[in-house]
Amino acid sequence: MNRRQFLKTTGAASAALGSVGLGFFGYEAGRDPESYTGWELHEGALQTFNRKRYAKDQPHYKRVGTTSRPDARTDVIFYRRGDFMRNWKDETGIEGLPEHLQAYYKKYPDVLEQDIYQMKEVFPKMRVDYQKYRDKFILASAWSNAMGAVSPQPINQPPEESDFPRKRRFGGTTEPLKMKSPEKTSKLIKQIAHQLGSTLVGIAKLNPDWVYSYPMRGRGFEPDKPVAIPEHWQYAVVVGTPMSWDPMYANPNFGTSNDAYSRSRIVAFRVASFIKQLGYAARPHTPGTSYDLMVPPIAIDAGLGEQGRHGVMITPELGCNIRPAIITTNIPLVPDKPIDFGVQSFCKTCKICAEQCPSGAIPFGDRVEVRGYQRYKIDTEKCHTFWNQNLGNMGCRICIAVCPYTRKANWLHKAALQVSANDPTGISHSVLTGLQKRFYPGPDPQKYYSPSFGGENASFRKPPWWLRAEDFIEF
């Protein structure tokens, strides 16, 4: 073999080996646990998207009318339905309910019908299905409960008591330390939040419209009295962590919100503790129901993402697989700007979440006015009713699992994100949506339901091996 023949043969062999190598690279990129953003490290390296490039002066949602603050007692469905079930009596009907519920149901009689339907039709059937089919999901349930087993002491004092630092030992001061500049403080708080376990961090100036007009129970406010927004709630530090990825794709039956709830709760309490030790006020608002405000719009204000068609915030790094928490504070900070990375245009054409939503709660239409702001509005009654029509861990999360933005951080999906974010024409949004629908389809939405409602206990994807109860337990 002469030199030329040798080089030609080597070139051909390299082409073959290189091609095989690319295949293995792809396989590893697809299965690599490190492409599950949120679990690798806490140095801030996970917040990888160049937000400054997509920063806007105003958020994507628009103020289109007279704004009003949400009432936690009626607008937060968990709170309202809990109150409703505790107080409803057939003999007294609506007149036996607390006044605020009476007023709400008189204004929205169709909501009352749905709340009654859930109590009288859904729960009895689910009790039967639970006994029949629950074994299959026993590990998912145990894992979910284990994730929720550790939780900081809930805040049950009013802000003027709970938010401020307590005196330190040996006569230490509680006076606020003199910070060099808001810019430096913002950088510090963000790095500390990452170090304490937050995957994403953003800062917003608190918009009073997002604070509840009437409070949730157990937050230290007087019940049924309007919330006066404390002066020291000037800024909102938004933190957030993702739900475990493999179970999240196996929603609604195998996923849980508890894992990310628990992590975000702990991060928020730690960040609040850090701020207090600098002498400033801080109050964590954490999932599932320990809030004095609505979290998603504040996270959008803080530049973490945009609202999707499903009503959930979509971030560049995690898609909608994020459970945020908030720390309100008066430490001087520099707010981040909201971002626009093409989600509004994408959601206009995509609609996969609406197609896959078993309850039909996600709109196919355009954004509407809600309390003075233009946004997508989901039918929360239908959504929450389905939470109780599947055997999963309290919830559904299908819209999160099927969203094209909720993908692993490997080369393929990162490239798709960059194409989508930088396409002003929207052509790529149609193409990517088409590919998503054909390449990554979900089951018939009806199959997500529990059998009593005509379903098959289906999940979007198969559960990870460690949640398959039948492989570990003799039934």
Binding site: S14, F25, G26, F439
Partner: protein
């Protein structure tokens, strides 16, 4: 992180690419097919498409998305084959007809 996600893997891939370019250049010279810059450019684009197809299939298998791997393999694979035929005809432009 496995070998196939490491810097060493891409270093070796780089060596492979150099060997492929040298081997291909000699192969074309032996056939007296001229290779101006535009042919190298088109070839490079096709190699990217071919590499994308292989990596797409592998990535989706790794993500446990067999349908995406199969459909992607068929769709992008067909595109790669069809464009390869077209590219080969373009590469033959300027070939010495005596050979």
């Amino acid at each position: 992180m496995s070998f196939f996600n490491s810097g060493l893997f891409w270093f070796i891939q780089g060596i492979f690419v150099c060997l492929i370019v040298v081997g291909f250049k000699i192969w074309m010279e032996d056939r007296e097919i001229p290779m101006p810059f535009w042919k190298w450019l088109l070839l490079g684009i096709w190699v990217l498409l071919f590499g994308f197809t292989i990596a797409f299939v592998g990535t989706n298998l790794g993500e446990k998305e067999p349908q995406a791997a199969l459909l992607g393999g068929i769709v992008f694979g067909l595109i790669a084959i069809i464009t390869a035929v077209g590219l080969w005809r373009l590469l033959l432009i300027g070939k010495n007809p005596k050979k």
